[in-house]
């Protein structure tokens, strides 16, 4: 039982570290225009009028990433850990997908405008850790549920 408790906290710690790294990554450079580097939020604002449709909606919603992860942590603190973990998995995959999409863009050397790898790469690492941690929390929660169902002997 002690091992289970330690494991649960370890996975939560991994997720927390991932969220921290992920959020730091969003404030690192994502976009270069000339000599100006923009973090993910500045890039979303600057690019918003250049795109349309779903991408524009995504850019508008992007700043919510901080509040979304804060919600996950708050739910965990309120002991709604499975809900927190499920949301963590969803946000982790979503954030990682955005980072991968940006990393997948051609750097276009010579072009004045282009993506910068630093921000999305760190965010991807953080999102992956957060996702793995959330899966661990979810799995641990499942184990405990089974133990509870069996009841004390």
């Amino acid at each position: 039982m002690h091992v289970s408790w330690v494991a649960a906290r370890t996975w939560a710690g991994v997720a927390a570290a991932g969220v921290t790294i992920l959020l730091v990554g969003t404030f690192l450079p994502w976009l270069r225009s000339g000599a100006t580097l923009r973090n993910s939020y500045q890039a979303a604002t600057a690019l918003h009028d250049w795109v349309s449709g779903a991408v524009a909606t995504l850019l508008t919603a992007w700043p919510v990433v901080i509040a979304a992860w804060a919600l996950c942590i708050a739910l965990y603190a309120l002991r709604l850990r499975r809900t927190s973990a499920v949301l963590g998995c969803l946000f982790g995959v979503s954030t990682a997908a955005v980072a991968v999409a940006v990393l997948g863009q051609d750097g276009q050397s010579g072009a004045l405008i282009g993506p910068v790898a630093a921000g999305p790469a760190v965010t991807l690492i953080g999102a992956t850790l957060a996702f793995v941690g959330a899966i661990g929390v979810l799995a641990g929660s499942g184990d405990r549920k089974m133990a509870t169902t069996r009841g004390p002997r």
Partner: protein, 439 residues
Amino acid sequence: MTHPGSAPTGQPEAADDGQPQDIALPLATDDSAGSPKPKSRTGPAIGIVVAVVVVIAGGIGTWVAVGRSGGSGAGSPQDAASSLVADLGNDDVLGVVNDLPPSEGALLRSTLDDAAAQLKRIQAVKPDASSQAATGLSIHADGLKFDSSAVEQVNDHIAITKLVAGKITFGAGLTTNQYTDAFLHAAFPNGAPKGQSTTVDIAKVAQSLGHPVRIATVKVNGRWYPSLFYTIADASLQADHQNWPARSIAPIGSDTVNEASEDFLQAVLDSDAQNAIARTSPDEMAVLHDMGQVLVSQNKVTHDIKIAKITFDDRQVTGGTEAVLRNMTLDANGQQIVIVHANGCYTVQIAGKQQEPLCAGGLADQLRADPVTKSLPSGLIKSLDDMVRGLGQNGVGLVATEQAENWYVDPGRSITQFAHDLEGSITRQDLVSMLQLSN
């Protein structure tokens, strides 16, 4: 070590999501033999405090991220001009375009995007090339300085800043890794030319003008923006030794796209500049409304040409709806002129007499038959003919935009749409022919 809020052994505590939580705690077994202890209330309280703190921190983080992400516009004309200077100094094309008033920025962006899309269509540039890279435009500024004490407030929404020193370099050239090898090989068999650039020394320009270089800024929705259109308008007023008019021309909207187009065309045929300007978009063409009184006072020519009948085919285009001319009957001093667009051709009938139709293929034949133009390179003749084919197929029209349930003609969008249709009809071979002619 007891986890905050842990449940007594054998009585797993269910959280709000219905899942039993924290039954596997190290000290839980300590309670199994003794009497149940009262539940700790410290744990949930700490959890709630942590949750509240995290939510507040998340809110503040979001607010800071949004607040520092550089929304458009500036608080003063000087700040707007300084922002432009900073972005020019950093070669920040994205920043420069975003510095412009929203309507001008939108027009510039769609123009760049259209040009890039056409270059991609004919496979001249690679599919993933950016608009800026594809069009090969660049701008760089060094040491730009404004006279901060000399901002000239024209009215409540126009202010002129004075640029006194520095250098601006405008560049245009091929970013070769953005273009397809096939295009580069066909267009430049001896190697791609190096880009050309022009540097403007502001101090010298100011000396030759006799006054600082004036950069106009405009106030839109409470924020100041450096404006390309207003700067050009201000320069033309300065060249004519005129001031900005004291009052603007009020916009007159129409109920439909076609009505707006017809009213605008009739005003143009009447040489009624005031009415024509009133029919233009008060958003993207705000500069026309603001300087319109000067244009009206310069325009005194009158004609007697009336639109007797006109019909359009409407189509959605970038930024608005285009009313494409289908047919029009004009009454010019009792003489009837009929223009019809059908089957990819424009035909004109004057006083019942049919003129040479403008059709694809027809222009090439005319150019080859004409003793003056028959010596033109065949590639150029084909390019011109392709353009006419495009215009014949797409038709020529006016783009109108809707604002507050009123329709206005947008000359800027109409011109860019015309250019877009021309570009859309050329082939890669046409572009190669034109580039080879220019080399």
